[in-house]
């Protein structure tokens, strides 16, 4: 359906509160929600706060909730919504202003995850490493993550229960999976998964997978395998007996 004007409703406000404000935006062919928001900024509300960078779904800056669904504004054509749509900031993070939220917690979490660490042998070898394509493809899926934090936004552990001190959230399960499954990584992050990272908090509702703009199968390919790895070492009775008999893991635990 062709429309000449869009009724764009944007949440305006700050940490002390706010409200929905309506703007009439002339529609251009191929317009995405971010275009409409930036049009409002340039023509009607010069101080409308919004994050964006690449406008090509590669940087993950313009995350917002469009009609209640977490999406990237740059990748959402307005034609999906007809004559009216509502944009709100992500709800899981403290508001700064308008569509801009304080996502600094995510950066703190990332710092706590021990970085890529190769084995002593790999680290000191002077030869370029050899890896097979099929082995690296497994982690490539996780490394597609653009850190838009939409998965964090939709995760009920973080969003509804605000349990940020107990669970790192889907983004960082993906991050940990990308390290744990890297063919050359030699660190054991399972104690961390069970402890501070709190992988047990995920109860596999798969909402994160549903909102991922990079189509990473967060739950199936990252979180469930991590849960299995953790269970293996902590909750497998046969493994526990075997370990007591002296067959411990050779990997360095965190």
């Amino acid at each position: 359906m062709e429309i000449s004007n869009l009724d764009l409703k944007i949440w305006r406000g700050d940490s002390s509160g706010g409200d929905i404000v309506s703007y009439r935006v002339p529609v251009r062919e191929g317009m995405v929600v971010l275009d409409a928001v930036l049009w409002v900024q340039a023509n009607m509300a010069s101080d409308l706060a919004v994050r964006w960078n690449c406008k090509a779904a590669k940087c993950g800056s313009c995350s917002a909730e469009i009609n209640g669904f977490p999406r990237l504004m740059c990748k959402t054509p307005i034609t999906e919504y007809g004559a009216s749509l509502t944009v709100r900031p992500m709800q899981a993070f403290p508001i700064i202003k308008d569509l801009v939220t304080d996502v600094s917690w995510n950066y703190e979490v990332n710092k706590q995850i021990p970085p890529f660490t190769p084995s002593e042998k790999d680290a000191t070898s002077s030869e370029p490493w050899r890896m097979q394509q099929k082995d690296v493809e497994r982690v490539m899926e996780f490394r597609k993550c653009i850190e838009c934090f939409l998965c964090q936004d939709v995760c009920h552990v973080l969003r509804v229960h605000d349990a940020k001190s107990a669970f790192y959230g889907p983004r960082f399960m993906v991050r940990i999976a990308s390290l744990e499954m890297h063919p050359k990584d030699a660190l054991d992050r399972r104690p961390m998964l069970k402890g501070k990272a709190g992988v047990g908090y995920c109860n596999i509702t798969k909402c994160c997978t549903e909102v991922c703009p990079e189509h990473i199968k967060i739950t199936d390919n990252a979180i469930i395998p991590l849960k299995e790895r953790m269970d293996d070492v902590y909750f497998d009775p046969i493994r526990a007996i075997a370990q007591r008999l002296g067959g411990g893991s050779k990997r360095r635990p965190v």
């Binding site: 010069s46 101080d47 994050r51 690449c54 940087c59 970085p115 050899r130 597609k144």
Partner: protein
Amino acid sequence: MDLLSAATYETVETDVLVLGAGGAGLRGAIAAAEQGLRVLIVCKSLLGKAHTVMAEGGVAAAMHNVAYQDSWEVHFADTMKGGKLINNWRMAELHAKEAPERVLELERWGAVFDRTWQGRIHQRPFGAHTYPRLAHIGDRTGLELIRTLQDRAVHAPGVEVHMEVNVFKLLKANGRIAGALGYRRADGSLILYRCAALLLATGGTGKMYRVTSNSWESTGDGTALAYEAGAQLRDMEMMQFHPTGMVWPAGVRGLLITEAVRGEGGVLRNKDGERFMERYDHERMELSSRDVVARAINSEVMAGRGSPHGGVFLDITHRKPEFIKSKLPSMYDQFLKLANVDITKQPMEVAPTIHYAMGGLRVDAETGATTVPGLFAAGEVAAGLHGANRLGGNSLSDLLVFGKRAGEGAAAAAKADAKAAQAALDEKEVEGAIAALMAPLDRPAGESPYKLMAEIQEAMTKYAPIVRDGAGLDAGLAAIHEIGARAAVCGTGGSKTLAFNPGWHTSADLRSMLVNAEALLRGAIERKESRGAHARSDYPKTDDQLEAVNFIAEKTADGMRVTADKRVPMPGYLADAIHRSYARYTPEETE
């Protein structure tokens, strides 16, 4: 004015201050921290969102994993020929020699590249590279690079990051860099940074054009700040049009289509179905250098042989759908989502889009030192490596090679003169800069900075397009001066708030854009020839006399002055490398 008094800023001290958190800034920060110094990275956006994430095709390095004949000499020769020989030859030499080591180092830090069947890093062919040379990860190499460097940097001892802070002034004491002034985007609060050395890694200037692949950040802050601090700019007339930007729908015009589409076999056709590159570069065809392909597309459109929306067709449908989806996943996704085009079945419509500034700060090849003591630069903000035209893939390798070198350079300078961070600053200068930043907030009725920005973009698009002429460039300069006068008294678009006020932020960005626009136009006026990205209809031939010349812009009491600077000729072994390398036909030579 009282709310702006100097007492309102917080002071933060560090050893090496890095402006910009793209590939060059992060690599520089890692290098400086390895020297045991405190490093503070200041960036305009969130960490990891810098323009580097948009780099798609790959990182050029002569590792000869795919083509065993490749060597640093051939990479050097390709870079020099692509840059039409006005490159800083020493930079091109260092770059070609060190890029493989930097790529392998990235892998040691956890980056995951596509592999050859033998398990080595795979390398894909790219425009004007003699051999397949680009290490890559599908079409999201930049993201892999920035994520790897980001994780390395935040876990490096001594490195701190200030996100969403704009720096609006560089400060000197005793003739050398001693600090910078910035404001937090979230609340407008001011920070006075004190440092013993400063590394600029602020990226490019593309936002001064309307159709560009660049984000809001690319306003050329680094070049402008350094220019104001007395640094010399070089080759500013050299602005790259990427041949393939999206043209339709209107909302996505300018969005980049990676050169990897052509690297993986994509062909260009005009509306008559003719593979027109045959007429412009019959040997290299679609994989000719970017300046040649961009001009060819422009010529086809001008001659009325364009596509319905004013571009040409880029077709990769002869490749298998699975191949396209695995090698070009984000392109497939981008077209399906934004243009409703399935690139495995339909051709893409493409036209040139502003992409990369080859010009920038004049730097020392070994250390990245600018002409201002204590001030260093690396990445797109620095000039020299790419000359008159950058080859695809040479940007990511540039970031790694010269990010490291400039980080080490800055660290050495900071160690040599650690007291610079405590040297007395000119209080008047500090207060004057703060007052100028804040002034638009006091002019609510002043002109909208968004409108002025659009006018700069219109002027540059009109007067400094893909093919330029003297009269147009003169008119452009007049237009930029006129807009500049209005920008000096502009408002914020209506709001006086300090809290995340993009209108106010834009008023500050205008100043950077105006300096860059003026430098581009003045350089283009002086360079009376056609060379690389700089094409003039009134001087259509390449002038051999100008091969040894770079145009340098600097600030004087009477405003910007551009002078011709003669380069030292390259040593024999490098000249030989160019002559020895596979003698390729380059269209410019026979035109």
